[in-house]
């Protein structure tokens, strides 16, 4: 019962509250750098929240990460550098778009593979049905009917 309420409160904190993320004091002066920071923030997970990027979250940790991303950008890191740095600190969990690794091969290849398999199966199905229909010989009754029709 209290656990339930606590969970609810946690859920509540995660998604309601003043659900505002980037504050003006965090923002970079250079609009180009700030745009890069926003773009990266949208791809980073707020790890204490539930399915929120650090760009959307108002949690303390999200704020820290936003500031960190901006620090790295100001130091001259490329986008890839920033992401690598964050993964080295927080693990793959921080990435909302998982990298292609042996562990995520199935995840990334499944849509294409399924599409190919499905298309292949559908193609084979129509081909097989067609050949079945074409190769089926006439039954004796049909032969008789055909003959009669031709004679008429």
């Amino acid at each position: 019962m209290r656990g339930f309420l606590a969970t609810m409160f946690g859920v509540w904190l995660a998604f309601a509250g003043p659900a505002l993320a980037v504050n003006p004091d965090e923002m970079l002066k250079d609009p180009a750098l700030e745009a890069r920071a926003r773009h990266l923030s949208a791809q980073l997970r707020c790890m204490v929240c539930q399915n929120q990027s650090i760009d959307d979250s108002n949690a303390e940790l999200a704020r820290d990460l936003r500031v960190l991303v901006r620090e790295r950008i100001v130091k001259g890191d490329s986008d890839d550098d920033v992401m690598r740095y964050l993964v080295s600190r927080y693990g793959d969990f921080v990435l909302l778009k998982p990298r292609l690794t042996p562990e995520t091969v199935i995840l990334w290849t499944a849509p294409g593979a399924l599409l190919l398999i499905g298309a292949g199966a559908a193609f084979a199905y129509t081909r097989r049905r067609k050949s079945l229909a074409g190769s089926e010989p006439l039954s004796p009754e049909e032969e008789v009917r055909l003959k009669r029709l031709l004679e008429e």
Binding site: F4, L5, T7, M8, V11, W12, A14, F15, A16, G17, P18, A19, L20, A21, V22, N23, P24, D25, M27, A42, Q43, R45, Q50, N51, Q52, S53, D56, G91, D92, F93, V94, L95, L96, K97, P98, E103, T104, I106, L107, A110, P111, L114, L115, G118, A119, A122, F123, T126, R129, K130, A133
Partner: protein, 665 residues
């Protein structure tokens, strides 16, 4: 006392469901008509008992009887009456009761409208519905009993989660469940057909209206949920690829595929086995969605229940129903005779392509949703699969689908003419490109490639209209005749066109808002003005106000464009007194189909406020398109052909107004 009555009604309902699970099915096996006929009255009784139990819960909430544990936990006597009522399903136990109520409602509707169903089929269908009811009543009674009472009764409730105190809660879950659970009827029909080992075009004719109804409600439910999240959560997002959203989106995708494959089966007696499998899979995804939301395996912003014992129970239900259905399918499917032949380039071929892409999209969403869970279970490694993944993979899959949609209705059955369809759609494609270009210039901004996205949306819209134009024979006949023929087209033709057109409107809204939206974050003091989305917003200051169970600070903004006043907007921050929880109530002002979205942030030390302003161009198209799809669904549903008990096709063809007209000419 009244609450015990409800409790008792639910226990009786369990007994009724158990009987109903056995008697009609046994009757159908033995050919015993009397046993088979118990299905109808039994189904009504079951629905009546569940309705009584649900009514008791609702009564306890509305009169604020806090001796009921879940009313104490989730209600407050100061809440407006409509929220006291909708609070019934604003928690785990109550929402399962709503699920059950709608499930038994659908069973009762099958009993009511199924007067022309063959006795055996009807007995089996209602029997299978009762299996599902039994499982869920047991689940409710054993793990989530809503009738638990408190003694002594507390004087006041703990209030409903403030985010749920919204008209959205009154509308969104019932619509969503009508969709989710509506697919149970398709599932039951599929199982009944497999039990019987017989399936034909008539089966598809009985299944299609239920699929269509469930699909229409699910469309409405998802769209409503998306709009609710958009205005309530306060950061202007409308789709988060959240596991709970995915849970409702997967049955929608599979249901859309089912809707189309049932069409092939009904018209051409083809794709039977596939349609049956899809009917099973669609409801399985509904069950899986319930599991994902209820078990707490995927913690997400919506999951208000997290309790593993429930999870294990639902997992058992899932295993039995999905595993059992698929086993039955494997045993029986080879015995089902495959039907009509068709060329790859044909209406059937187009619908197969539709099914292929929709099924793969469903699988993609499913894999993406479950992958982190499976990986963590197997290896202990934690990864996240979020919006960037889904936008990329799902987006890529949608491109060929969107481009193919206008071609489908233009193709003839059995053997189609792709070149002919291309010629017919030439004008629509050209116009769509021009419209996309025009919109891009008009909105002025964003990557050039988005012109193609906008054009794709317009192509769906113009393609759907072109289909109607060609069917009516505009250009070939005199305009008068064409209009008469247009009026004579079957309603399902309009339904199809509207559904496809609505999809186009949604696509247009998604592309436009993604491309053209702009955001402004500023620290504002009263009297200050900022520019956002081509508007000038002046912050006039904060005002305190008091609601029935909350206090709020309301910020007032005056909107000007080019110096001309365009109205004003209030945006507020609320504090719900019972739970001491803050919420933001975004201020939203519509300009045509676009919206200005104003959200208040934290107060600054120097008396300023952080204010966030979004300009969301064309955003209303996203939900407007869903509304059009829904209207299309209902129009199709009102078609004679789909009406249960409608005369057979030959009769219809002879009296069809379009044909009558042609004959009269």
């Amino acid at each position: 006392m009244i609450i015990e009555l409800g409790h008792y009604a639910l226990v009786l309902a369990l007994a009724a469901a158990l009987l109903l699970s056995v008697l009609p099915v046994v009757g159908a096996r033995r050919g015993d008509l009397a046993l088979m006929q118990t299905a109808v009255s039994g189904t009504y009784a079951l629905f009546g008992l569940v309705l009584l139990a649900f009514g008791v819960l609702a009564y306890a909430y509305v009169v604020s009887d806090f001796s009921l544990l879940i009313a104490y936990q989730n209600s407050h006597s100061l809440m407006p009456a409509v929220y006291r009522f909708s609070a019934v399903w604003g928690n785990h136990e109550g929402s399962m009761m709503l699920w059950l109520l709608i499930l038994t409602l659908f069973s009762a509707l099958v009993a009511l409208f199924g007067t022309n169903l063959p006795d055996r089929l009807k007995a089996n269908v209602l029997g299978v519905q009762a299996w599902i009811s039994t499982a869920f009543i047991l689940f409710i009674l054993v793990t989530s009993n809503p009738f638990i009472r408190l003694n002594p009764a507390p004087a006041e409730g703990q209030d409903l989660n403030p985010v749920l105190q919204d008209p959205g809660l009154a509308i969104h879950p019932p619509l969503l469940y009508l969709g989710y659970v509506g697919f149970s009827v398709c599932f039951s029909f599929a199982i009944a057909a497999l039990i019987d080992g017989r399936i034909d075009a008539a089966w598809a004719r009985w299944v299609r209206p239920w699929t269509l109804a469930a699909w229409t409600f699910l469309t409405a439910g998802i769209a409503m949920g998306s709009y609710w999240a958009y205005y309530e959560l306060g950061w202007g997002g409308w789709w988060f690829w959240d596991p709970v959203e995915n849970a409702s989106f997967m049955p929608w995708l599979a249901g859309t595929a089912l809707l189309h494959s049932a069409l092939v089966m009904e018209k051409r007696d083809a794709l039977k086995i596939w349609t049956v499998l899809l009917a099973i899979l669609t409801f399985s995804l509904s069950l899986l969605g319930t599991f994902l939301v209820r078990s707490g395996v995927l913690t997400s912003v919506h999951a208000f229940a997290t309790d593993p014992s429930r999870g294990i129970f639902i997992l058992a239900i899932l295993t039995i129903f999905i595993g059992g259905a698929l086993t039955l399918f494997m045993l029986r499917a080879p015995g089902l005779k495959a039907g009509g032949l068709f060329q790859p380039i044909s209406r059937e071929g187009a619908l197969v392509l539709n099914n292929l892409i929709l099924t793969v999209s469903t699988a993609t969403v499913l894999i993406g949703t479950l992958y982190p869970l499976l990986l963590e279970t197997l290896t202990g490694d934690k990864i996240s699969v979020g919006p960037p993944f889904f936008n990329l993979t799902f987006g890529l899959l949608m491109i060929p689908l969107i481009l193919a949609v206008p071609f489908g209705p233009m193709m003839a059955w059995k053997r189609g003419d792709l070149l002919g369809a291309l010629q017919r759609l030439y004008a629509a494609a050209g116009l769509a490109f021009l419209a996309g270009l025009a919109l891009y210039y008009f909105e002025n901004g964003g990557p050039v490639l988005s012109v193609l996205g906008l054009a794709a949306g317009f192509f769906l819209i113009f393609g759907a209209l072109a289909d109607l134009v060609y069917r009516a024979g505009f250009g070939k006949q005199t305009t008068g005749i064409a209009f008469r023929r247009l009026k004579g087209l079957p309603r399902s033709a309009f339904g199809t066109a509207l559904a496809h057109l609505g999809l186009g409107v949604t696509v247009l809204g998604i592309v436009a808002v993604t491309t053209f939206q702009s955001e402004m974050v500023a620290e504002m003091k009263p009297g200050q003005t900022v520019e956002a989305g081509g508007f000038a917003l002046t912050f006039d200051g904060l005002k305190s106000a008091k609601g029935p169970n909350y206090t709020e600070d309301r910020g007032h903004f005056t909107i000007r464009r080019g110096g001309v006043a365009q109205g004003d907007v209030w945006s507020s921050k609320r504090l719900y007194t019972a739970r001491r929880m803050p919420t933001t109530e975004a201020g939203i002002r519509s300009f045509g189909l676009s919206q200005l979205y104003v959200s208040l942030g934290d107060p600054m030390a120097d008396g300023g406020m952080v204010v966030r302003i979004w300009w969301k161009p064309w955003i209303l198209c996203i939900w407007g398109g869903a509304l059009v799809m829904m209207v299309g669904g209902f129009i199709s549903l009102s078609d004679r052909r789909l009406r249960v008990g409608a005369p057979n096709r030959k009769l219809k063809a002879a009296t069809s107004p379009a044909q009558g007209l042609e004959a009269a000419e």
